[in-house]
């Protein structure tokens, strides 16, 4: 069985949702039941690799130990940077080991959802350091990390936001509205992924692999739209399913192809990821650079921050050359956008509501975005002969 991937999943998930709805309608907490369903799905999807289940248990236990003991460390030693980095390092270490050993073809410590779980856990350590998380409940933590709708591909929730839903029994009418919205999202998501996404994928395979320039262009645009419908469809289903279990997982896409500049694009595409990077890497790096007066000009600092931030994002996808290029590409584009909007601030602000300016901005952004996905697909570097 694959999560949100085959008929078997949807039949089982549909049946298992019934008791959740009964709990919700009766205004009873759904969490314990939701946790059991989560464990069920994890075991079923991973049963062919029992070792991965063991890794996952060890991983979750380790992460819990880290977020729990770090609270005590903060209480005793305050905002100590050495200890802070030690905990960040320990929290990221399993993912790093998995990714690095993956380069040799035999990845260690791998299991479903390790990347996304690491985001959720690391952010908690960071927010403990910032003194905005003051307690961690073991059951809530494990449920937050494993919550089956979002375990595989996000969206990346925040623990403090999750806490609100976790500790709230929604009034009947509100819950029913959530179920309605949830079902709609699931149906729409399925249409995105299985109808639109699959169709575009077929077009890409039929017309995009002929090796001519036109064919490369077809591949590029098809791949961009395929990626959107596939991923946004998956996320819609994940968010919809969350709602049925009383958890309002955050939205992840907001009409990304209507973006008018690259900053706008990253506020619309894989939002929970880009905002995670903004809040936990970019902002903090910038704060360090401002405190340490690393840069004379604000613009240089911003460009540096954006490029570092997006490169890390690229590397997070994998160590393959095209992922790293994808990250650097977006970092440079964001820096250029920033430089343009600051240096030509007057021009930009005077014309930004005019039709021609909007049309030109949209056209440039759309094509830059599509080319970015072309890099991401691995096809660009393959054509260049620098990857397989």
């Amino acid at each position: 069985m694959q999560l949100f991937g085959d008929t078997y999943f949807f039949i089982v998930a549909g049946l298992l949702a019934v008791p959740a709805v009964v709990f919700g309608v009766k205004e009873k907490p759904i969490n314990i039941y939701g946790f059991c369903v989560t464990i069920f799905f994890i075991v079923i999807t991973m049963k062919s690799r029992p070792s991965a289940i063991v890794w996952m248990v060890v991983y979750v236990a380790l992460q819990y130990l880290l977020v729990k003991t770090y609270l005590a460390v903060c209480a005793k030693y305050g905002r100590n940077r050495g200890l802070y980095w030690l905990y960040i390092f320990l929290s990221v270490a399993p993912l790093a080991v998995f990714k690095i050993t993956g380069l040799t073809g035999h990845s260690l410590f791998g299991f479903m959802g390790i990347s996304y779980m690491t985001f959720k856990s690391v952010q908690m350590i960071i927010e403990e350091y910032d003194m905005i998380i003051k307690e961690v409940d073991p059951f809530e933590f494990v449920y937050f990390l494993l919550f089956f709708p979002c375990v595989l591909s996000g969206p990346i929730d925040r623990s403090r936001r999750f806490h609100e839903d976790f500790t709230t029994v929604h009034p009947r009418q509100e819950y029913l509205d959530m179920v309605g919205t949830g079902l709609f999202k699931i149906v729409l998501g399925a249409a995105y992924k299985f109808a639109a996404g699959s169709l575009i994928y077929q077009l890409m395979i039929w017309y995009g692999l002929k090796g001519t320039f036109t064919s490369h262009l077809i591949y590029m645009y098809c791949y961009g739209f395929y990626l959107f419908f596939d991923f946004a469809g998956y996320t819609l289903m994940a968010v919809g399913m969350s709602y049925i279990y009383g958890i309002r997982s955050p939205e992840n896409f907001n009409k990304p192809f209507l973006a008018l500049d690259m900053k706008d694009f990253w506020d619309r595409w894989h939002i929970s990821l880009s905002h995670w990077f903004r809040d936990f890497i970019f902002s903090r790096l910038m704060m360090r650079s401002i405190k340490g007066k690393w840069f004379k000009s604000k613009l240089t600092g911003a460009s540096f921050g954006l490029i570092v931030n997006m490169t890390v994002m690229g590397v997070w996808h994998g160590f393959d050359i095209y992922y790293i290029m994808y990250g650097v590409y977006h970092g440079v584009l964001l820096a250029l956008t920033e430089i343009y909007q600051k240096k030509c601030r007057k021009f930009h602000r005077a014309h930004k509501d005019e039709k021609w300016y909007i049309a030109v901005s949209w056209f440039i952004t759309f094509n830059l975005v599509m080319f970015g996905f072309f890099i991401f697909s691995g096809r660009f570097t393959k054509i260049l002969g620098i990857s397989w």
């Binding site: 905002r79 952010q123 003194m131 902002s283 405190k291 600092g301």
Partner: protein, 81 residues
């Protein structure tokens, strides 16, 4: 303190309008972006010793000068500063 914060906001946004209209939407009007935001947080920490986390607030909680002032005050009280 309110005046200090408004002065700083005017400095960061590069526009005195934040003083004249303390309910202006800083994000909508392109007066402040995520970089300016971090600058403000660093300044609050250095000026008042209060820790404000960049992941703590939603945009809606901090998108006008008045809201910024209210959140800074709240944080100063919470941390007994």
């Amino acid at each position: 303190m309110e005046e200090k914060i408004l002065d700083m906001l005017a400095d960061i946004c590069g526009d005195e309008i934040v003083k004249e209209n303390p309910d202006i939407d800083l994000m909508e009007e392109d007066l402040m972006d995520s970089l300016d935001w971090t600058e403000l947080l660093v300044w609050v920490e250095e000026e008042f010793g209060a820790i404000m986390s960049p992941s703590e607030y939603t945009r809606e909680e901090m998108n006008t000068p008045n809201k910024v002032i209210a959140q800074v005050k709240k944080r100063l009280e919470e941390q007994n500063l």
